[in-house]
């Protein structure tokens, strides 16, 4: 009887190993930074949603946030940001990436991102993110070196001086697997 149980368990294991895994974004802090000779502005969103689906050793991830969820601490500036990024017409910023399932346990994650924002799609190659795994939680941090030009955003100006082109986005997200 014992032998039977052992053999049955062993026979089921390969099937379990092939079962699909899903990932859910638990918490997130996305911070964009724009710079002007008179201003340094950070817009923060904690409202990103995300999901990952693994199949056949590859995992497809999608993270999305509403453009209006980014807060600079000034309602007037927030509205200007939505206007200049066409946030009413394209209300979602989304990030897609694919990772090998085997890389999800490493301390450093290197991936290519496809970002849809302001009606444009930009690709970022070989970005490096740091990962800290605590129990079931995978905390990933890093920076996306995006620019206004990547999304064909006309730099808004203040006192006739335009914003700098650089718009790095700091990423701090926690995922858990299901």
């Amino acid at each position: 009887m014992k032998k039977l149980i052992v053999i049955l368990a062993l026979s089921v294991l390969p099937a379990l190993a092939q079962s699909d895994k899903q990932w859910v974004l638990d918490s997130s802090t996305l911070t964009y930074h724009v710079s002007h000779p008179l201003h340094e502005v950070d817009g923060v969103s904690h409202a990103a949603l995300g999901k990952g689906v693994c199949h056949a050793g590859q995992c497809d991830f999608l993270v999305a946030a509403q453009v209006k969820s980014f807060d600079t601490g000034d309602s007037n500036r927030n509205l200007h940001m939505i206007q200049v990024t066409q946030g009413a017409q394209y209300p979602i910023v989304s990030v897609r990436f694919r990772l090998p399932e085997s890389s999800l346990s490493s301390a450093t994650i290197i991936c290519d991102l496809e970002i849809q924002f302001a009606g444009q799609t930009a690709h970022f190659q070989q970005l490096v993110f740091q990962q800290v795994i605590q129990g079931n939680e995978h905390r990933i941090t890093g920076t996306i070196p995006s620019t206004l030009q990547n999304f064909k955003i006309t730099p808004p100006s203040f006192f006739t001086v335009p914003l700098r082109n650089e718009m790095p986005v700091k990423v701090d997200v926690s995922w858990y697997s299901q």
Partner: protein, 250 residues
């Protein structure tokens, strides 16, 4: 006897194992039928409801309508619907964008006019030194220049205020940050810009009549200074926090 019994048991175990592997394998047609035919297990997680929403949001594919077997939707890359975003949240609005564009256009004019208004305002304050008289009062060129610059300031200020007041309001926006100070200060310089020319006109009339400025008209300069200060602070407030970094700008 014992040997033949063991053989029989081994045969049963082997065939059970093969059957289990075949059934559990994701490449098995049985497994696919199971995935598509059986309803999702009730789960209180976000994913369960999202998967349902995705199915509702996505139009049926031609393959699905043809009745061919479909892979489990879980194997597809996630979509916005999977995240729980409703079509209302993901759909853009050209009308709302046009409203924002109009608001920005008007506020840009407000900003430029507001900055330009500081020039006649400063000139008016500068010219005020020649305006009052202490003895032998009567019509004077200094007072007239001061009054003319004051009228120009009030005119430009009115145009500036118009573009702020007439700019479209975005419903559901809770005001916070520097804009609140900008608006609070407008409650000071707004009435001040109305009161200052009235008091100025009264003062000028008294002065032209050869009288020393007296009564409420004597408050003209104090009201004007308060108004100008509130106006200047209002410009700084809306730009706050200022971090001068011109040397880093490229």
């Amino acid at each position: 006897m014992i040997f033949s019994r063991n053989r029989k048991t081994a045969k049963i175990i082997f065939s059970s194992a093969v059957l289990l592997i075949v059934l559990a394998s994701p490449f098995s047609s049985f497994a696919q039928v199971d995935n598509t035919a059986l309803p999702d297990a009730p789960a209180p997680s976000l994913l369960a409801s999202n998967a349902e929403q995705t199915q509702q949001n996505q139009p049926p594919s031609p393959a699905a309508t043809a009745g061919s077997p479909q892979p489990s939707s879980d194997n597809q890359p996630p979509s916005l619907g999977d995240l729980g975003l409703t079509p209302e949240q993901t759909a853009g609005s050209a009308t709302a964008q046009a409203l924002l564009d109009k608001r920005t256009r008007m506020l840009k004019i407000h900003q430029r006019l507001g900055l330009l208004t500081t020039l006649p305002l400063a000139a008016t304050l500068f010219a005020s030194g020649e305006a009052p008289c202490n003895h032998n009062c009567g019509p004077s060129a200094g007072a007239d220049l001061h009054a003319s610059l004051g009228v120009l300031t009030v005119g430009m200020y009115s145009a500036t205020a118009y573009y702020a007041i007439a700019a479209p309001k975005i419903p559901g926006t809770e005001k916070k940050g520097a804009i609140r100070w900008h608006e609070v200060l407008a409650c000071i310089h707004g009435p001040g810009m109305i009161l200052t020319p009235i008091l100025g006109a009264m003062a000028l009339k008294q002065q032209d009549a050869g009288e020393k400025v007296h009564g409420i008209a004597a408050a003209h300069s104090a009201v004007a200074l308060t108004t100008a200060t509130a106006y200047g602070v209002s410009i700084i407030a809306v730009s706050w926090p200022i971090k001068i970094k011109f040397w880093e700008h490229q």
